[in-house]
């Protein structure tokens, strides 16, 4: 089973406590009130569940197309098996659509602000460029959703979240969500558009921010290069498919050379098929991982932004308090 390593450096619990340094080697001072070590800790995925018995298993499977008067969409079966007391039943099977996963993720972000929430696959796809209902697309999405659910289920804190529980068990999720839609808007706006001015950002968070910016950029470049390679390979493929048959045509006019020429033709065909496989594997196995990490980094950047905002709020309140103290002092 393939395991996906943590997006940041793999550090053992002991190391992170005493010797803090950034991925590029700069040592870091833990001077700020919000301990950076604990934040970095939480940036790790807990892969320490090797060998431990799990009591919560979730799978995302069986995509189905639904056609209603308003829209067409895909739902996925979310199957749960658990022995946890937090759940009423030992097994659940519910149908969820992408919107529901998105809701869950937002709820997790809101209620667990100090935790890094695993990413979801891309929400928006350009209509006309990608077929949202093609087998390939649906399968890629299902895999990513399955990964997401497993990561949350394996997380020692996130898996106990009440919204996660509701997602897995509720017959009618819409009722539970209700007004959550509105609040979701408000909160995300707050976190994204906050334009507070910071006095000074602790060095380790600036460095982390810079690193993430560069890292995202590099990943983006690699993604683009890989896509370009796929494109060039496809064009190469087009020519190859025309090339082989010419040898076959030639073989028809020849006697002694017939066999060798047909040999070449079949070799070219084999190479063509192998290239097809290669291109497919790149699309299915390589690119999604890259994209996932880009999404991870986006999450991390949001976390850093939240931290900035909290710091800004804190500073603002300090200023206000200091100001009122002065006022009171001058009033007496």
């Amino acid at each position: 089973m393939t395991r996906f390593s943590s997006p940041s450096q793999k550090q053992s619990a002991q190391e992170s406590a005493r010797d803090l340094s950034l991925p590029n080697g700069t040592p870091v001072e833990t001077s700020s009130p919000a301990s950076s070590s604990s934040l970095l800790n939480r940036l790790q995925l807990d892969d320490d569940l090797d060998g431990e018995t799990r009591d919560l298993f979730v799978t995302v499977e069986d995509p189905k197309k639904h056609v209603s008067t308003m829209e067409t969409y895909i739902t996925y079966k979310v199957a749960t098996k658990t022995t946890r007391v937090e759940f009423d039943l030992p097994e659940y099977s519910v149908r969820r659509r992408y919107q529901d996963f998105d809701w869950l993720r937002t709820k997790l972000e809101d209620t667990q602000p100090t935790h890094l929430i695993p990413p979801l696959p891309e929400k928006f796809v350009m209509k006309g460029v990608v077929d949202r209902f093609s087998e390939e697309f649906v399968e890629t999405r299902r895999k990513a959703l399955d990964k997401f659910m497993k990561r949350v289920a394996d997380h020692p804190v996130l898996s106990f979240n009440e919204h996660f529980n509701a997602f897995l068990s509720a017959k009618d999720l819409d009722k539970r969500r209700g007004l959550a839609l509105l609040s979701k808007m408000g909160e995300s706006v707050k976190y994204v558009t906050g334009g507070y001015k910071l006095r000074s950002r602790p060095v380790e968070f600036s460095a982390m921010g810079d690193y993430l910016d560069m890292f995202t950029q590099k990943l983006g470049t690699i993604d683009r290069i890989a896509q370009r390679i796929i494109k060039e390979q496809s064009e190469y493929q087009v020519e190859l498919r025309e090339y082989g048959p010419v040898y076959t045509t030639w073989a028809l006019s020849e006697a002694e050379l017939q066999e060798p020429l047909e040999g070449v033709a079949s070799c070219v065909a084999n190479c063509s098929n192998a290239l097809d496989e290669l291109t497919q594997d790149m699309s299915e196995d390589f690119l999604p991982v890259l994209r996932e990490y880009v999404l991870y980094i986006d999450s991390m950047k949001i976390v850093l932004k939240k931290r900035d905002n909290i710091q800004a709020e804190y500073e603002t309140k300090l200023e206000a308090a200091a100001f009122r103290k002065e006022e009171r002092a001058s009033a007496t």
């Binding site: 590099k218 064009e235 190469y236 020519e239 010419v246 030639w250 050379l257 070799c267």
Partner: protein, 437 residues
């Protein structure tokens, strides 16, 4: 003019355990050996060593720059005795090669004469220049010209030609010698005949089939060369884009601690991969050149077929002429008019001729018939000779073609295997770098 080897000279292979196929193969190999042995190459080594640029005035008295090629010859004996004397050498330009070839075409119309490399670079993939002055083009042309000379020198008939020998050994005065042979007149009439439209009633079926084959071969090889060039273009693109990985890995390694070294090394492998395609594709051009030679050979094949048609046509014309003359004589003798002639009509209208007039006419006709019969006999012999000698050379050509193209395909396959092996190596190395990260 015939080579001094004959079937009698083939060594009898005493081992009767060989299968008939093996026996045939042995005979073929021996014949190749004999061919080499009796050819000019037995006596001298020939090579086209270098190329240089010259300036001069052309036929319309304008300055031009052209390339000359150094032809070096050395007697084989000298080398085998342990002494290696300096080769004799002279310079020739492309137009002189053309003149030589035209001379050979005209003088030995029953021979499939090896083609010259193309005058201008065509059907190349985009990275290669189509400029005649480009050093790579000149180099490839040098190789092709050498190949041309070796082909002529190893041909059982052509290798004995004096003009060819002097082309290789005496720089000055060669052109004049060629013209002195009166080949120009022959060349002109040949050109006229090639372009004339005539219908042959009874061509030798083998030549008709051969013409058909040469058309097919020309079509398919042209197409192959075009598609191959496009494939090469695309492959180039794939390799070069991988070079971008090299750059981004290098940049990325700068912001990483533990992964830095691995990324940097992997990046170098990607750079190497991207750079390797230039040599790979240049080597492949050799394969394209081999195909091109046979593409151009189809023209020579067609020329021989055409010559057969011409000789056959002339024979048929002579025979037709003879038949008509005989008929006229018969009519004159029997007094019946079967064929329409103005004389016949006028005599009908204006009265019979006198006995003397008839006698005179008869004599003329009999003379013409005699001459006609000679002509037909001559043309018949000519045609038979031509068919015989041409077909020997065509069989020789077919064997040569099969051998050469088989070899070309094999070395092409080897090139592909080598390219893929190199690719596997690069990715294995890169994977190791990633594993170590």
């Amino acid at each position: 003019m015939m080579a001094d080897s004959g079937p009698e000279e083939i060594a009898v292979i005493g081992n009767t355990d060989l299968t008939s196929a093996e026996l045939e193969n042995n005979i073929k190999n021996t014949m190749v050996e004999i061919e080499k042995w009796t050819s000019l190459l037995r006596k001298m080594e020939i090579s086209v060593g270098e190329a240089e640029k010259r300036t001069g005035k052309n036929t319309v008295n304008m300055q031009e720059i052209y390339t000359v090629y150094l032809i070096e010859t050395r007697p084989v004996d000298a080398v085998t005795e342990g002494i290696i004397p300096a080769p004799d050498s002279l310079w020739r330009r492309y137009s002189e090669f053309e003149l030589l070839r035209n001379y050979l075409l005209v003088t030995y119309p029953f021979v499939v004469v090896a083609p010259l490399p193309e005058k201008r670079a065509e059907i190349v993939w985009h990275k290669l220049s189509a400029d005649n002055m480009d050093p790579d083009f000149v180099e490839r042309r040098r190789v092709a010209l050498e190949n041309f000379l070796l082909r002529i020198a190893s041909h059982p008939v052509l290798c004995n030609d004096k003009i060819f020998y002097i082309f290789l050994t005496e720089e000055k005065g060669w052109k004049e010698m060629v013209y002195e042979t009166g080949f120009q007149a022959k060349a002109d009439s040949r050109l006229k005949a090639m372009n004339a439209a005539f219908r042959v009633k009874n061509p030798d079926k083998r030549f008709t089939e051969l013409k058909h084959y040469s058309d097919e071969l020309q079509t398919v090889v042209s197409q192959l060369l075009r598609v191959r060039a496009r494939v090469a273009d695309r492959l180039y693109g794939v390799y070069k884009v991988h070079g971008n990985y090299g750059r981004v890995f290098s940049e990325w390694s700068a912001i990483e601690k533990e992964m830095g070294d691995g990324l940097q090394s992997a990046g170098h492998h990607m750079d190497a991969y991207a750079a390797s395609v230039d040599d790979i594709l240049e080597e492949e051009e050799h394969y394209a050149d081999q195909l091109k030679e046979y593409l151009f050979y189809t023209e020579a094949l067609r020329a021989v077929c055409r010559k057969h048609e011409l000789t056959q046509f002339e024979l048929e014309m002579a025979a037709q002429d003879l038949t008509s003359k005989k008929q006229q004589k018969e009519e004159l003798v029997t007094g019946t008019v079967r064929t329409f002639s103005l004389k016949g009509m006028t005599s009908k209208l204006f009265g019979q001729e006198t006995a003397e007039q008839r006698e005179a006419k008869l004599q003329v006709l009999e003379q013409q018939i005699e001459e006609g019969e000679e002509a037909v006999k001559e043309k018949n012999t000519e045609s038979d000779e031509f068919v015989k000698t041409a077909w020997v050379d065509i069989e020789r050509f077919k064997d040569q073609k099969d051998r050469d193209l088989k070899e070309a395909l094999i070395s092409y396959a080897i090139m592909q295997i080598s390219r893929c092996k190199k690719g596997i190596q690069v990715w294995t190395n890169a994977k190791e770098c990633f594993n170590k990260m």
